[in-house]
């Protein structure tokens, strides 16, 4: 039979062309997964503090001042006009200040303030590293989603998961390196997890919902060995074709992707199947209760995928866009995710995985401390909260501040580009060096921006 390794390497080279350095990274790490030892780390720009990422994306934009960014002044000045100017561009008009309907309290040894919305996550604050001074540049969902996922709200660019897949390759050659669960199809849709001009293999594999899993994963008729025979037959025909037409990176990439499909078919069902999990684990993720079942299953799947070596797993939860009905909806949405998120953190920790897994919680933007109507808040890209946990970040730590009402990031501001730079750094990648030449220019995730926020690193 044809030599798969040689072919895939050629295909890689053909595809990656100008990004040779990055290919080296991928290749070296790939070898590491086969037990080639620590030498692989030489391929990284820095020692990696995290091997993989789980991004819990709260689509719609939860309100920072109702969750993790405690603002006593906002409570005092409830109903008063904002004493400084609102941003030049706003998504909608807002009125006066609106205090949080939820009470805050301090938790853990670190004494982090968390609102009543997240009682379970509150128990984990000593493992969290808050960034309370995030800011972006787009006040609409679509643009802001694209910004946080791809670094650009203007042009089609690869998503961060695709960049990481491109830079690091897969830890498990039978699984894709980038998986997105319950992805949002609006607001930029597939661009948010696409590979743009990077080789297509780096785009996310989509898992719609758990019932359907990955579509067409199972053959209704054939056994695995029958399938292998059929695929070998097809691949020998492909080899014959390739010989007659000459080198073509697309044809080679497709040959490779059929092999990946076959391996996914063998391995993915096991990873997707949660039936082997213990009752206490299911309970930890809230899978035993209706309200938390759905997101709980997704978080558990994220752990299983991550555990199996998927570099970047994103879990999306919708839809935190409370222009009105803030009290009821934020309450409901928080209930759906609070326990599962805490479950994920505890589970990772108990399995010793949290040290090498970076968990990130955040959204496309936050919300205004000023009211929209009487029970709503508008989009706010000018100051919002992210938190990270695990893989190389400080624990029980908080960085950056918004103003006294939580509107604008004021101290130690962290732009979306800075966040990307830091994320790459944690994975051992210099964000300025991981580039890809396209249309005559070297592109990178952070464009021409980005500062690694060293203060966050453990």
């Amino acid at each position: 039979m044809w030599n798969r390794t040689e072919l895939s390497r050629r295909a890689m080279l053909g595809n990656v062309g100008c990004g040779f350095g990055a290919w080296m990274l991928a290749s070296l790490l790939h070898q590491q997964s086969h037990g080639m030892g620590s030498k692989a780390l030489d391929g990284l720009h820095f020692p990696a503090r995290a091997k993989r990422v789980i991004f819990l994306f709260m689509h719609g934009g939860p309100s920072q001042v109702d969750t993790f960014d405690y603002k006593p002044q906002l409570i005092k000045d409830d109903g008063k006009p904002l004493p400084f100017e609102k941003p030049r561009v706003q998504f909608s008009q807002t009125g006066n200040l609106l205090k949080s309907p939820w009470a805050f309290a301090q938790h853990g040894e670190s004494g982090a303030w968390v609102s009543e919305l997240f009682p379970e996550v509150a128990k984990c604050v000593d493992d969290l590293c808050f960034i309370k001074s995030m800011h972006g540049s787009n006040e609409a969902h679509g643009g802001a989603l694209l910004k946080i996922h791809t670094g650009s709200d203007t042009f089609v660019r690869p998503s961060m998961g695709a960049w990481i897949s491109y830079g690091l390759g897969s830890e498990n050659e039978n699984l894709p390196s980038f998986v997105t669960i319950n992805a949002t199809l609006g607001h930029g849709g597939v661009q948010n997890f696409g590979s743009a001009f990077l080789p297509a293999e780096h785009q996310a594999t989509r898992i719609g919902n758990l019932a359907s899993g990955i579509s067409n994963l199972k053959n209704p008729e054939l056994s695995e060995s029958d399938l292998r025979t059929q695929l070998d037959l097809a691949q020998s025909l492909n080899q014959g074709h390739l010989k007659s037409v000459g080198r073509d990176s697309h044809l080679e990439a497709r040959i490779q992707s059929m092999e990946l499909a076959f391996r996914m078919q063998a391995e993915a069902p096991g990873v997707l199947d949660q039936s082997g999990e213990t009752e206490s684990t299911l309970k930890m993720y809230g899978i035993d209760a209706k309200q938390t079942e759905n997101f709980g299953k997704q978080c558990l799947l994220a752990r299983r995928l991550s555990e199996s070596g998927v570099r970047f797993v994103q879990v999306s939860h919708s839809y935190w866009d409370q222009h009105d009905a803030l009290r009821a909806q934020h309450q409901e949405l928080a209930k759906q995710v609070d326990l599962p998120i805490a479950g994920l953190l505890k589970d990772l920790k108990a399995r010793g995985l949290l040290d090498e897994t970076l968990v990130i919680w955040g959204a496309e933007f936050g919300r205004t401390p000023t009211a929209q109507g009487t029970d709503g808040r508008d989009h706010n890209p000018h100051g919002f909260t992210y938190w990270m946990a695990g893989g190389g970040v400080k624990r029980g730590f908080s960085y950056g501040e918004t103003d006294e009402y939580g509107y604008y990031a004021r101290e130690n501001r962290v732009h979306v580009h800075d966040f990307h730079a830091t994320l790459m750094h944690l994975l051992g990648i210099d964000h300025e060096k991981l580039t890809y030449r396209y249309g005559g220019r070297d592109f990178r995730l952070t464009d021409v921006h980005g500062r690694v926020v060293h203060e966050l690193l453990a």
Binding site: S244, I255, Q265
Partner: protein, 839 residues
């Protein structure tokens, strides 16, 4: 111009633009600027500067670090340059100056803290009237947004009229038509050699997939390969172009551009129950080869072509009228925020979507970028945008703007239905009479006076069962007739509404307008006759027809170029301009500008016939090249910009799925009608077929913006919310999973095997048939060997066989493998690259 060219370069283009206009209208004016006497300067120092410092600098000065709205007022330059809304002073019509409007609180309302006194405003008016004397020489420090070199942009290739080019004399026998001369010339200049001509079989599959999206049948491909007729290529192309399947293929290209879908998507994903009439209009237009200039007019203003003011309108049949109304669905089928509660914003967004799509599709210009500010790269002003916006604000695209708004649908004329409605109404009336009659008979019988209270209730209580039944029957007849009353068909379509001219929206904000309402006008850069060219129109009309006519005009430098480039792209995978919907400054330059212009000229001369253009392209030697390689060309031009070979292309999902179905004679090629769910059962041609879902051509499958079918998106179907000129081609494992495990390819593989198996013969003959059906050619030695390795083994050894060496197998002619073996072979072939790619 008063400014030397070097100064002009230093200054922003915005000033250049301002001066450009000024010099056009009042060329004398510039001489008088900026030379003032002491009194005038004193006026500025005493009356103007203090006000600026006190009330304006906080938000509009370099020192404060603020330049709100892009405006700086701390220097003469800043004042002249203005901000996002344009220059703050208008020296030609001082009273129209933006700054005065703002001070007077007409629109901008500045300063925001409160209106200044009339005295101050009066001072500003006087100051501007005297020419705005201003000694503040320091440069504005904030770079204005626009960096377009306006003068240079006028010379940009795509804004220039097409040049009359003649093809060079064919220098070699390689050339088959003028296209080839252009291509050869360019290639020779670079010293690049073309690859050889492709085989007949490959050309045939290529041209079938390209023109109709379905592979040739075994009979067709055999006949073509063996034909000795000299014009067999030409005749094949003519036959394909005459087939209704052609419109189904090329209509889909257009539907990508027109962001066609069967539902709204966006916030409220309502079904579009009659969007398909626009889809059918498009397919039909390609099939009837509607001249492209008409195709443009119809989609933008088909309704107005019917109106009495059009001299040709009287000769239009009803079918034509229906077509023309449905054509304007182009403007309505985009996604809309139906539940947007800020209704003026909903409308502004809708208009924006229309302008953006129209600009990209017909002109290859990203006009939509000028909504919030002058275009950052192209010479398109915000005022150009809003002059076009006036056209669409005066067009009715929405039925109403209630809480959840409703798009516009129009009834389509059909006198036959109107007649049958009349007949039907008579029947309804008769049925009603019978009910009345019978009721009064029964009332009489039961002696219920007609004027008694609630007579029907009384009657009900006294009727016996058979009486009740007879009355109910009559009522039912009436009810059913009422329900089945024929209705006029509807289509998503626009119509004229009240004329509503809009002015520039500051930063695209519909709540903040500035300047005069703008009459419909064409973008400044494309004005031919006078700098002030507007769309000449009746005062009560939207200007939509005039806009359509202007786009469709043979003199428009963009329209024909953009379209011929799209057709070229459809045949080569990439256009001569690789950015098909962006012919602006940020688009790619044409690789073969002369060829592009020659094609466009020829297109226009041939009455904009798209079919003629296809014919020209696919019969060229350029199209006929193989996808092969040679190392020198590969080295010099790896991207094949010089066209030294054909490009290998992956099948899009439509020809992929349609090929699968047609390979086993199941494809339903009927034209038109409502969208079909992918899962819908096909017309039961075979029991096995029920497993595969709808057998209709993929173009007729439902496009639900919020719930796209998995297999469509897996194979790079368009994002149907935006105009897409070129689909990406990704390679992901899910595509392989689909082909390996989805019921459609699985069943097709099985059926293909059983169809071939049932015909008898030996394995060699069967292989020949399978290869013919799947690849459209004869089997190769390698394939024979591979199949032999599977076929000749004992059953239990079959699976292992292919990994062994290929030597010493008995001849394939003597093999008669089982059906299951052939199922395996057929399914494997459907997984191969050769099936999935067009050479």
């Amino acid at each position: 111009m008063i400014l030397s060219s070097s100064v002009r370069r230093v200054l922003s283009s915005k000033l250049a633009i301002a001066c450009f206009f000024v010099s056009l209208v009042f060329p004398w004016f510039a001489r008088n600027t900026w030379s003032f006497d002491e009194d005038q300067m004193a006026f500025f120092e005493e009356r103007i500067r203090p006000v600026l410092v006190e009330h304006c600098y906080e938000c509009h000065s370099a020192r404060s670090g603020e330049s709100k709205g892009g405006l700086l007022l701390d220097s003469r330059k800043g004042v002249t340059l203005g901000g996002d809304s344009g220059s703050s002073i208008d020296l030609v019509n001082p009273d129209q100056s933006l700054i005065l409007g703002a001070l007077r609180y007409d629109d901008l309302k500045m300063p925001p803290s409160g209106k200044l006194s009339d005295q101050v405003i009066d001072d500003f008016a006087k100051w501007i009237a005297m020419g705005a004397p201003d000694p503040r020489d320091e440069a504005a420090t904030v770079a204005p947004s626009l960096t377009v070199d306006w003068e240079g942009a006028k010379n940009f290739w795509s804004f220039q009229p097409r040049t009359a080019v003649n093809p060079a004399k064919a220098s070699s026998e390689w050339c088959r038509n003028p296209i080839d001369s252009f291509v050869e010339q360019k290639r020779n200049a670079a010293g690049v050699q073309p690859v050889e001509e492709t085989s007949r079989a490959t050309w045939l599959r290529r041209v079938y997939i390209d023109l109709v999206g379905i592979p040739p049948t075994p009979e067709e491909s055999m006949a073509f390969e063996q034909s000795a007729e000299p014009d067999i290529y030409e005749r094949t192309v003519d036959a394909l172009l005459a087939s209704p399947t052609y419109g189904q293929r090329w209509g889909r290209y257009w539907l990508d551009l027109a962001r066609y879908a069967d539902s709204n998507g966006a916030d409220e994903n309502h079904a579009y129950p009659v969007a398909w009439r626009y889809r059918d209009y498009v397919v039909d237009s390609f099939n009837r080869d509607t001249p492209y200039h008409l195709f443009v007019r119809e989609q933008l203003a088909g309704d107005l072509l019917i109106s009495s003011s059009n001299p040709q309108a009287s000769s239009l049949s009803e079918a034509d009228q229906r077509r023309l109304i449905a054509a304007t669905g182009f403007l309505v089928i985009g996604p809309k925020m139906l539940a947007e509660q800020d209704k003026p914003k909903l409308v502004a967004d809708l208009v924006d979507e229309q302008i953006d799509t129209m600009g990209k599709v017909f002109l290859g210009l990203t006009i939509g970028c000028a909504r919030c500010h002058d275009h950052k790269f192209d010479p398109i002003l915000a005022s150009d945008y809003y002059a076009l916006a006036s056209v669409f604000h005066s067009t009715k695209s929405m039925e109403h703007l209630n809480h959840v708004a409703q798009w516009n649908e129009r009834e389509l004329p059909d006198s036959e239905i109107v007649r049958s409605m009349a007949v039907h109404d008579t029947k309804i009336e008769q049925a009603n009479l019978q009910v009345q009659q019978h009721t009064s008979e029964l009332m009489q019988k039961h002696a219920i006076p007609a004027d008694s209270p609630e007579p029907s209730k009384q009657l009900e209580s006294v009727l016996n069962d058979s009486e009740k039944e007879s009355l109910a029957k009559l009522k039912q007849v009436h009810e059913e007739l009422t329900k089945s009353r024929p209705k006029l068909p509807k289509a998503m379509a626009v119509q004229e509404s009240e004329v509503r001219l809009v002015s520039v929206h500051v930063r695209g904000n519909h709540l903040q307008m500035t300047g005069q309402p703008l009459a419909p006008a064409v973008p400044t850069i494309l004005r031919r006759r006078a700098a002030t060219e507007t769309l000449q129109m009746a005062p009560s009309s939207s200007g939509r027809l005039e806009l359509a006519n202007w786009i469709a005009d043979a003199q428009n430098p963009l329209t024909a170029r953009v379209m011929v480039n799209r057709i070229w792209q459809g045949h080569f995978g990439s256009g001569l301009v690789s950015t098909g919907s962006n012919f602006g400054l940020r688009g790619q330059l044409p690789t073969h500008p002369e060829l592009l212009d020659w094609l466009a000229n020829t297109f226009v001369e041939n009455d904009w016939s798209i079919k003629d253009l296809h014919r020209l392209i696919v019969l060229s030697a350029t199209y006929r090249m193989s996808t092969g390689s040679n190392s020198h060309s590969e080295q010099v031009d790896p991207e094949n910009r010089l066209l030294w070979r054909q490009n290998r292309r992956r099948l899009e999902i439509e020809p992929l799925r349609d090929s699968l179905l047609s390979m086993v004679d199941l494809l339903d090629t009927r034209v038109g009608g409502e969208a079909t769910a992918a899962s819908a059962a096909p017309d039961a041609r075979a029991v096995w077929a029920s497993k595969i879902g709808s057998a209709r051509r993929t173009v007729y499958l439902e496009v639900n913006r919020a719930a796209m079918s998995d297999f469509l998106t897996t194979f790079d179907f368009v994002e149907p919310g935006v105009s897409v000129d070129r689909r990406p081609t990704t390679i992901v494992p899910h595509q392989a999973l689909y082909l390996m495990n989805h019921p459609l390819p699985l069943e097709v593989g099985r059926q293909l095997a059983s169809q071939i198996w049932s015909q008898g013969g030996n394995d060699a003959q069967r292989l020949e048939q399978v290869v013919r059906r799947v690849y459209g050619r004869s089997a190769t030695v390698v394939e024979k060997q591979i199949v032999q390795s599977v076929a000749s083994s004992r059953k239990e050894e079959q699976d292992a066989a292919i990994s062994h060496s290929l030597e010493s197998f008995e001849s394939l002619e003597n093999c008669h493998s089982s059906l299951e073996t052939w199922v395996k072979i057929c399914r494997a072939m459907l997984l191969t690259n050769e099936f999935l790619y067009v050479e």
